[in-house]
């Protein structure tokens, strides 16, 4: 007895030292605004149908840039979209309008996603102690288009600069706005992890909940609202695709296909409500999936270059923290940006970790449908993984005609009705920021 107790204790110590999720964390709500759906229902229909949101994209301001395609958030009115969300109590509806009614696009997209997750998680009916609820916003440098759009007017008449500029240019405007709308009083901050930001936020939320700092957390995938300067910059370093398939935008993003040539920019706001099992149980919400492991590691590398060792280390560590063997993972939602080097290195790292299991591990990349949502990609893809786990299907790996590898089991062009139990989702960022998380089917 005492021996077993000691052993248990030492395992606990180890998991705390590893600072991964210390216990499974429930996903009790999801919400999304994207090019392929303005709520989770539409989004999951699009995943199932393999619908791409990538299209021609003419920028409204600035000089023409070489790549005019992307997966853009549709123009929407927050007031009209708000009417579509059922069951929102009047005071909450009013706060959304007051706090975000005239905010930049990204904030409105995130607010709408958060509202959907909030209602799905039943927080309007069975509330949480506001001081035990947190907000973690994934992403940094979120609104360059907002500043870029004001620049010309500022040059002419600095006196007329909107007094809201000092609020909106800061990423923390997301934290402030969401905290006022949802009356959140626990921890709240933004995390920057480049294209891995979404997974970084999920991992940090699990740590805060597992460490009992908070009971639940709104994890927000904030859209990266890029200006023409950022897009030209990505183009200049050869990271952006869309050159050869310019006349067929929905073919431009082709993760793991021999004709991949760089990422295609996408926009999405996403929210995942993570909650401790005890809190979810107390509130009587079963949840739709669980986060059971996660790892964030650095390559020691300031460049955009992917690194096989770092990626393999993150995946292996996430598995160890979830207490899983590679053979137990059914499905990998790959980082898969459709970048030649990135896709190739990820395949190598996956093979290094999964070894002989690689031929039975289903792999797809949601970016083939949504484009690369950069700061919010991790949250978007965790939501995609949770939906596929819950609903028992795998979405197509879009545009895979000539795979770069014949041993990996990439998903076909049609979605598959497959029951999957355990999934991994990778997100890798410039600057050697490497993450992997594990999601499992079912709530508590």
């Amino acid at each position: 007895m005492s021996g077993a107790g000691k052993k248990k204790m030492s395992q606990q110590d180890k998991s705390i030292k590893n600072s991964g999720p210390t216990a499974p964390i429930a996903v009790t709500g999801i919400g999304i605004t994207s090019s392929i759906g303005m709520n989770a229902g539409e989004f999951s229909d699009s995943l199932r149908a393999g619908k791409s949101g990538i299209d021609h994209w003419t920028l409204s301001a600035g000089p023409p840039i070489p790549v005019g395609i992307g997966a853009r958030l549709p123009d929407f009115s927050l007031a009209a979209a708000l009417q579509q969300v059922e069951g929102v109590p009047e005071p909450l509806r009013r706060r959304v309008g007051l706090c975000a009614g005239r905010s930049p696009l990204g904030i409105q997209a995130a607010v709408l996603a958060a509202l959907e997750a909030w209602i799905k998680a039943g927080l309007h009916q069975v509330p949480l102690d506001p001081q035990r609820l947190g907000i973690i916003v994934a992403g940094s440098n979120l609104n360059p288009q907002y500043s870029y759009g004001l620049h010309e007017k500022f040059q002419q008449n600095p006196e007329y600069l909107t007094p809201r500029y000092p609020l909106h240019y800061m990423d923390t405007d997301y934290v402030g706005t969401l905290s006022e709308i949802f009356q959140v009083q626990g921890e709240g901050f933004t995390v920057g992890g480049a294209s891995a930001s979404g997974n970084v936020a999920i991992i940090k939320a699990c740590q805060a909940i597992g460490g009992e700092v908070i009971d639940a957390c709104l994890v927000i995938g904030a859209p990266a609202d890029l200006s023409p300067m950022e897009l030209q910059g990505f183009y200049n370093i050869g990271a952006l695709g869309g050159r050869n398939f310019h006349d067929q935008p929905d073919k431009a993003c082709r993760p793991f296909d021999r004709h991949h040539e760089g990422f295609i920019y996408g926009q999405a706001g996403a929210c995942m409500l993570l909650e401790s099992p005890a809190s979810a149980q107390r509130r009587g919400v079963p949840g739709l999936a669980r986060v059971t492991g996660g790892a964030l590691v650095l390559d020691g590398n300031r460049l955009p270059d992917p690194n096989e060792e770092g990626e393999a280390r993150a995946m292996a560590l996430a598995l160890a923290r979830a207490g899983l063997d590679p053979s137990e993972i059914d499905y990998l939602n790959a980082h898969g940006t459709s970048s030649p080097l990135g896709d190739e290195i990820e395949v190598k790292a996956v093979k290094q970790v999964f070894k002989e299991n690689v031929n039975r591990l289903w792999i797809n990349s949601t970016k083939g449908l949504t484009g690369h949502c950069l700061t919010s990609a991790g949250v978007v893809e965790a939501i995609a993984a949770a939906i596929q786990l819950q609903q028992g299907f795998l979405h197509p790996n879009k545009n895979l005609e000539n795979p770069i590898d014949n041993e990996c089991r990439f998903c076909p062009p049609q979605s598959l009705p497959v029951s999957i139990r355990k999934a991994m989702s990778n997100s890798f960022g410039f600057g050697g920021i490497v993450t992997s998380i594990i999601l499992e089917r079912g709530g508590l």
Partner: protein, 80 residues
């Protein structure tokens, strides 16, 4: 430009900044704070009114303004 013209501009801007406000509540003796405008909203009414009127008023001129009438007076002075 009359004081009434300036007031109509201020009223229009105020209703854009505070969309929930019933238009009849925006009268000359009211102050923006009582109408529900926060500190940023109040600055926005000032900035956008200046822009609509095509004038530039040093912000310190508004230091002693107590209500919409005072705001209209300052703007009117610079608009003519």
């Amino acid at each position: 430009m009359t004081q009434l013209d300036v007031f109509q501009t201020v009223k229009k801007v105020t209703l854009e900044v505070l969309p929930f406000l019933p238009p009849e509540e925006v009268s000359i003796e009211k102050n923006l704070k009582d109408l529900g405008a926060n500190s940023i909203d109040r600055m926005e009414v000032v900035t956008r009114s200046m822009e609509s009127l095509g004038i530039k008023v040093p912000l310190m001129e508004f230091g002693k303004v107590k209500n919409l009438e005072g705001l209209v007076d300052v703007l009117h002075r610079f608009a003519n």
